[in-house]
């Protein structure tokens, strides 16, 4: 294999073990690539930044949840979140996310698992799935994916062993990047079709550079479980923008739950990093997730990708200064200015949504019928999804600063129109998208 030869010539590594698609233990891969493995293990570090990273909060382990350290609770930081998620599992437990090392245990022990019976589909993004999918599908990844999606979580959990690991992003033979998640393959196919590109296949048609973001886009995306089979689905059929995704959910009539207070059919947005990044100037300029979150680092005579995936603001020299010739403090200030602006508008939108909920409750208590509340409830659903889209996105707007605030102002506007609807006033045309 030519690629392999070149690779070897440039990266003088010792082939200590022969890697195959049956080996998912990162310690074994780490024998060939000890530097990458060292970084990989360090994703267990917990360090806060102003708006990101994560903080190590000690807790007393219990039988139900043996974790002695968790990340800070977002519900305690901002009690409004309990209101907007009333009636849904997220109102029970929602924490700041932390490093990859924790993904499997954090998913297993979140109190959300105690409130709702989850399907095996959850595992897609919290474990190394390559061998599990293949086993469950008798060698066929897509079949295995379908089987595991619909299996109850508790039954599916024993099928996996590791958090995301080498095999999920790399081909064992060539070490080339690859996408191993059917949901992403299908999501991208639907998205590209909406852009006029037919039969898109990410593993054969993406450039190497695109793969430096696509491997992350396997998980850092908005999702839902479609139909009885709980098939993990990425809602990109109209496009990747928040309002395009909302339009698709509206078309397909999907809901995650019914709001306990307003009675509206709600949507929960989750970690749309890939979608938001796509709208930003970094993506336009071809800057990939790996460029910032896995910057090259020099080890001896070699340059390797830093596999200690974390907040780039903990690593500004390597993550930003390759491209930006400004001081570390200046770059930090630029990022935090963007994040601060996003937070300030997020707060406005969240207040507006909370007020709309209260208004709907008051109207209902005042005797309004479901028919009379229908329009306002629809505005609640829309306003909250757009708010949540930016709230759930983990860069606090950095990945696409102006777009983040645009989406929040759409949210604000829907909340405002919902309040008008309750008074029987005209609510205006559908919001203009760009």
């Amino acid at each position: 294999n030519i690629f392999q030869h070149k690779q070897e010539a440039r990266h003088p590594f010792f082939r200590v073990v022969e890697l195959t698609d049956d080996i998912d233990d990162p310690a074994v891969w780490g024998k060939n690539f000890p530097l990458q493995y060292d970084g990989y293990k360090r994703t267990s570090d917990m360090v806060r930044t102003r708006y990101g990273g994560s903080e190590a909060m000690p807790r007393t382990p219990t039988q139900a949840d043996p974790r002695s350290v968790v990340a800070q609770s977002r519900l305690e930081e901002d009690p409004r979140l309990r209101k907007i998620w009333a009636g849904y599992a997220f109102a029970t437990d929602f924490r700041e996310e932390r490093g990859h090392a924790y993904m499997l245990t954090d998913q297993l022990y979140t109190e959300r698992q105690q409130v709702v019976k989850q399907p095996g589909a959850c595992l897609n993004c919290h474990a190394s799935m390559v061998t599990a999918y293949r086993k469950a599908g008798d060698g066929d990844m897509f079949r295995g994916f379908e089987v595991i999606c619909r299996t109850p979580y508790a039954e599916a959990r024993p099928l996996v062993e590791h958090p995301v690991t080498c095999i999920d992003c790399h081909d064992p033979g060539t070490m080339a990047l690859r996408v191993t998640r059917p949901a992403f393959i299908e999501g991208m196919r639907a998205y590209k079709a909406s852009q006029g590109v037919k039969d898109y296949d990410v593993n054969t048609m993406a450039t190497r550079h695109e793969m430096r973001s696509f491997v992350c886009g396997q998980c850092h995306v908005e999702y839902h479980f479609a139909g009885e089979g709980k098939r993990l689905t990425y809602p990109w059929h109209n496009g990747l923008k928040a309002d395009e995704i909302l339009a698709w959910y509206d078309q397909s009539g999907f809901k995650d739950w019914v709001h306990a207070d307003s009675g509206a059919p709600m949507l929960k947005a989750q970690h749309p990093e890939f979608e938001l990044w796509n709208q930003g100037v970094h993506a336009r300029a071809g800057v990939s997730c790996a460029d910032c979150h896995m910057p090259y680092q020099r080890v001896g005579a070699m340059k390797i990708s830093d596999h200690h995936i974390r907040s780039p603001l903990l690593n500004i020299n390597a993550a930003c200064q390759t491209c930006h010739k400004a001081s570390e403090s200046e770059l930090l200030a630029r990022a935090e200015t963007i994040q601060g602006r996003t937070q300030s508008v997020r707060n406005l939108a969240m207040d507006a949504v909370v007020e709309l909920i209260a208004d709907i409750v008051a109207a209902r208590d005042g005797g309004a019928t479901d028919a009379q509340l229908g329009v306002a409830r629809d505005f609640h659903r829309k306003a909250q999804f757009l708010l949540d889209f930016i709230e759930a996105e983990n860069s606090s707007g950095f990945h696409a600063d102006q777009e983040a605030v645009r989406v929040l102002s759409l949210s604000l506007d829907y909340a405002r129109r919902g309040q008008r609807a309750l008074r029987g006033l005209p609510t205006g045309a559908t919001a203009a998208t760009e």
């Binding site: 020299n317 200064q321 390759t322 010739k325």
Partner: protein
């Protein structure tokens, strides 16, 4: 438009000619490789080979002062600093140019381009009111 391009063309031609006549080819072959002996300079070396100045300026044309004493003083300081850093490690990655060396480099731009920039660069080269060339022309020496 035609006049402009003819003028630009001949100005560039003279520039190249002057360079070759005055400096000789040795700078082009030996010196950059001397810098690139150090593997941490490979990136700039690679970048330089792809940048607009590869045929007209070598590392030291931009990174050493254009007077004799300044040149060797700077080489001594940098040689010491870089060797030390190279041996000890602990320098920032990516490497960033120091204030002092940036001033040296800016003076080098002005040395070669005095004619072209005199109208926009009224003050003493490197003086308080000077306009930083690199602010707009960051990539002329080597792509980053």
């Amino acid at each position: 438009m035609l006049t402009v391009s003819v003028l630009v063309g001949s100005a560039a031609g003279i520039g190249v000619f002057t360079f070759i006549y005055a400096e000789g080819a040795s700078y082009l072959t030996d010196r950059p490789q001397a810098c690139a002996n150090c593997h941490v300079m490979h990136e700039q070396y690679d970048g330089w080979q792809r940048a607009s100045h590869r045929d007209v300026a070598t590392c030291n044309d931009c990174h050493a002062p254009h007077d004799f004493f300044g040149k060797y003083a700077t080489k001594a300081i940098n040689g010491w600093n870089h060797s030390l850093a190279f041996t000890m490690g602990g320098f920032p990655e990516p490497i960033r140019i120091t204030e002092r060396n940036l001033r040296v480099t800016e003076a080098a731009c002005r040395h070669c381009h005095a004619q072209v920039v005199h109208a926009i660069d009224p003050l003493e080269p490197g003086g308080a009111g000077a306009m930083s060339c690199v602010r707009c022309h960051r990539n002329v020496g080597h792509e980053h």
